[in-house]
């Protein structure tokens, strides 16, 4: 039986007509409620600590452009850790100090501008050629100004992940290996909310395998680190590589679990299902 597509010329025509007719003000009206709703949510979830806020912004941006949060790979957290470590945040603090001095009248606007540009151009230099790639066309100057003002790219994806982003920014503001904690936490959450016993075991097997693989590979990185002094670019690449590999190990273990017939109930054996309820 052949089914023909029923998009009558009339309905199509009407759609097009209404699109043409919807003026700027109409779309504005349509957008405002959504934006307003988002604003309230943002007020609820935006962290107040400036370090966390910066992490929040960075992760929101990362997710928007690289699908990092939804993609599930931990490389993002490692990147974030490398980008916000001591060397770089000191420069940002310099700008903040300069601003305070300018506000107190200790330096003139010209001096403040000059000092700010100097510090931020040093920051761009430290960031290196990857700056354009990581900041997707924005220079460090623009990115930091946006972060300072507290703005967040208000896309739908971010609106959906706000509470997750808020929790993660607390963790991300502390460092990079937090990935392990975050993935274990998400695994426990998944186990608690799945009814199916097999799925629970799959999640457990996958989480345990990827965590131990991450830890082992992390330790094994030491072998590489002995021979070469490592710059931040290499650290980034190594972190991303081991995150990918541990993700692969998790997937491989789940596949093997299913191939073995899913006979062993790891969740009840290890007591994890009592912990993750």
């Amino acid at each position: 039986m052949v089914v023909t597509d029923i998009s009558t010329p009339d309905s199509v025509g009407m759609c097009l007509a209404s699109d043409n007719q919807s003026s700027q003000s109409e779309t504005h009206l349509m957008m405002s409620p959504l934006k307003r709703e988002n604003l309230d949510q943002y007020k609820l979830y935006m962290p107040t600590d400036p370090k966390e806020r910066e992490a929040f912004w960075a992760m929101a941006w990362l997710d928007d452009n690289y699908n990092w949060l939804s993609g599930g790979l931990g490389a993002g957290l490692t990147t974030l850790g490398v980008l916000t470590h001591e060397q770089n945040t000191t420069l940002i603090k310099t700008v903040e100090t300069l601003y305070k001095q300018y506000q107190m009248g200790l330096i003139s606007k010209g001096q403040y501008d000059y000092g700010r540009r100097k510090a931020l151009s040093l920051f761009s230099q430290r960031l290196g050629p990857l700056e354009k790639l990581l900041l997707k066309g924005q220079t460090a100057q623009q990115a930091i100004q946006i972060a300072r003002s507290g703005a967040v790219p208000a896309t739908e994806k971010i609106a959906k992940n706000l509470s997750r982003l808020n929790k993660l920014s607390k963790l991300a503001s502390v460092g990079g290996v937090v990935l392990t904690g975050a993935s274990l936490g998400m695994g426990c959450y998944g186990i608690a909310h799945t009814q199916n016993r097999q799925k629970k075991n799959e999640i457990l097997v996958g989480t345990m395998s990827s965590t131990i693989a991450g830890s082992i590979l992390g330790y094994a990185l030491g072998v590489l680190l002995i021979s070469t002094p490592v710059g931040w670019v290499t650290a980034l690449a190594l972190g991303a590589g081991s995150a990918l590999a541990s993700y692969g190990a998790g997937e491989g273990a789940v596949k093997l679990y299913d191939m073995s017939g899913a006979k062993v109930d790891f969740a009840s054996m290890s007591g994890v299902d009592q912990i993750c309820k």
């Binding site: 131990i212 082992i216 992390g218 002995i226 070469t228 190990a249 093997l256």
Partner: protein, 130 residues
């Protein structure tokens, strides 16, 4: 490679128990050794020219100090790798308990790595005979 379902199941169980056991001991041991790294070792070897400026900065804080621990751990077993850093004699300034801890950590990491990844790779590339 053809293997029976029974062999597959047994190997899988060994792999998972190694993973579970390892997960229980390896990360905590690594973290403990990192936090309790003897000051003497740090003062003697954690400075230029053994470590570069950038490394000194980022390996001073947790969690990157873990990498510092792993470097010291591996150098105990693979001193021939140490061409640039010149830290192959670091075992001299380590207290006994720290040395034993590091050796334990490194050996267990190697074992878990071979068993876990070895079995996983083997099982993923083999066929189960019906």
């Amino acid at each position: 490679m053809q293997i029976s379902q029974e062999l597959f199941d047994h190997l899988f169980l060994i792999m998972m128990f190694t993973a579970m056991g390892g997960l229980l001991w390896q990360p905590p041991l690594w973290i403990l050794l990192t936090f309790f790294t003897p000051k003497k070792l740090l003062n003697t070897y954690f400075k230029e020219p053994h470590f570069s400026q950038g490394e000194l900065i980022f390996m001073s804080r947790f969690p990157w100090s873990l990498f510092r621990t792993s470097i010291f751990g591996w150098i105990l077993f693979l001193p021939f790798l140490d061409k640039k850093r010149n830290i192959r004699n670091c075992y001299e300034v380590m207290p006994t308990w720290y040395r034993i801890g590091l050796i334990l950590l490194t050996i267990s990491t190697m074992l878990i790595m071979f068993i876990f990844f070895g079995i996983m790779f083997f099982l993923l590339t083999s066929h189960i005979t019906k």
